[in-house]
């Protein structure tokens, strides 16, 4: 469309420039083999008429097939956190199928570096045009993207970020800030003098993301609300001694708990079994077990990061970058969503 609302076609530009459509196409796609004189003339006309290519026609004519690869942790059932990004990836795939885009999904075991490495090899073997991944293992991710960089294959990180790499985009939370939000909410609902617990669940090293959340929480409590009556507690839900220790600690004076990974339900279970009434619990991520405790009132707030959208937008960003050739935001921090029993339903039903 130009200013007059008429659709400008390559054919129109060609006849105005006194050349054939093929020549215009060469200019548009910088394929060379055009005299500088013609090139400039054509570019001028394109600019003046504000020519916008018809992407529908381009896609239909284009023989090029694009192959995207995604690499995320595997999930065993629909309860798993990683089902959501996968759903988003599939939704985007369906939407761009007719644009000759194929998306191949790869999965690795979060507890096995080897499986990550193996999948990376498989991905490099299929020579993808773009890659979407969750960079769970730092060193292996760096090794992978080095190879992608060499081949000029763009890649996008979701869920967590590794700074200093050449990913065209990151889609996920600012985890430090999401710690801030959790601390702020707790600050609203527990009395000023109450004791607070920052809980880590499980025996593995806390992820990058959990670590940053923890930093955010502590920073807020210390510097904004001026508190220092918080302690850190580890809980191994597989270990009855650990559970007992945890139970004893929270039994006295503790009024608020923030769980820094997605396993708030483990704490909720203990709170419920013990019959503790005045404890406010805040967690992350909408795992079904977390949601149940939220609805029951055992968990006060859950903080969510739109995982489905991370997968969807990730694939769409590759598409926009490679096919539509629009600019992509380097850092795309998703909203830090606050859920209670009262607004969770419409959040879950949406999309």
């Amino acid at each position: 469309m130009n200013a007059l609302g008429k659709k400008i076609r390559i054919k129109d530009i060609a006849s105005l420039a006194g050349v054939s459509p093929g020549t215009v196409d060469r200019v548009i796609h910088n394929r060379g083999q055009v005299t500088e004189e013609n090139r400039l003339k054509i570019l001028k006309i394109i600019d003046e008429l504000d020519y916008k290519p018809n992407l529908v026609a381009r896609s239909l004519a284009n023989k090029k097939n694009y192959l995207f690869a995604s690499l995320c942790p595997e999930f065993l059932n629909s309860n798993d956190y990683w089902k959501a990004p996968d759903d988003g990836i599939q939704r985007a795939s369906r939407e761009i199928l007719n644009f000759n885009i194929t998306v191949r999904r790869f999965y690795f075991d979060q507890n096995s570096v080897q499986s990550f490495q193996k999948k990376i090899k498989e991905i490099l073997d299929i020579k993808p045009d773009g890659v979407l991944l969750s960079p769970v293992f730092r060193d292996e991710t760096i090794a992978l993207v080095k190879q992608l960089d060499e081949k000029d294959v763009p890649y996008i990180f979701i869920d967590s970020n590794i700074e200093g790499l050449r990913n065209i985009s990151y889609l996920g939370h600012n985890s430090f800030q999401s710690g801030y939000v959790a601390a702020r909410l707790l600050d609203y609902i527990v009395p000023a003098e109450a004791k607070i617990v920052i809980a880590r669940i499980g025996v593995t090293e806390p992820s990058n993301q959990a670590t940053h959340r923890e930093e955010g929480i502590k920073h807020y409590l210390k510097n904004i609300s001026g508190k220092d009556n918080f302690i850190q507690l580890d809980l191994d839900p597989e270990n009855s001694k650990s559970i007992e220790r945890f139970r004893n600690q929270i039994g006295k004076e503790v009024r608020g708990i923030i769980v820094i990974n997605s396993k708030a339900f483990e704490v909720a279970r203990i709170v419920k079994e013990t019959g503790l009434k005045d404890i406010n619990l805040i967690g992350y991520d909408l795992l079904p077990e977390n949601i149940n405790y939220l609805k029951e009132g055992i968990i006060s707030f859950l903080i969510a990061q739109r995982p489905e959208e991370q997968g969807y937008k990730g694939i769409m960003s590759l598409f926009n970058h490679l096919v539509i050739k629009t600019d992509i935001e380097r850092e795309n921090f998703l909203p830090i969503d606050i859920l209670t029993a009262e607004n969770i339903e419409y959040y879950l039903n949406y999309i």
Copy 2:
């Protein structure tokens, strides 16, 4: 794509059925003029091969132009609430431009039924294929959609809903529930015995939406938290006497205020000027003035309803219904988003 990953074309179906592509097309689009025998044969093949039309090709070949009309309140500057839905409508328009869709936007004066009626006439004159509107005026909306129903023109409501009409979709909050959320938040942050104010700002009748919110708030306070220490206060921010009265009322014992329309900033201003410290204020909608008071800490929570997305999804729903012919959700309740000073930034920056 079929199960084998091969792309099935109309041509393929035609040769399998021993007919020409034209005949297959007639069957696909129910244009008749095909023997029942051929029709059934072709439908069987389509089903077995799980044929999915190439929408890109369809769109390119299709001579049909679709004209959509939108009708929303006018806005004077980018601060206005109604800028956001309009942005969403424009974003969707751009995205589907190459599918031969034109969107014409109409605006009316929220304070003038006449302007609404006038625009309705204009919309009917251009004979749109689909209409998106905010049904601010009930009777006039009913009169409009009666005419649209006669012509089988689909229409979608955003922002607020009118029950019992044949709109193909509604996109907006469940306002009663969003009242629930506000009351729930206030309940968390004010002491059990504290006095609460439900405030209406302005002299015009409260909208449907504000009324439903108010019902939700009262229902929650009475039935869930078992409170009856709340009062309702009107504030006319243009009237200094009204302001004085409001100021006096909230000066004593009141610890929480919920503003049921989008003008929480009017109350925030009074709270700030008066220097009241222990009042928790909750409002709706992300007007720039509301956002400023949220960041300042005068407003504790804002509840938002994704207005940009309402406009975007509204147009995309018309597109999907008319062009792609997918099923549309009749009621599409958007998430009731909870914003604090700590998570507002990422919410605003995100598309």
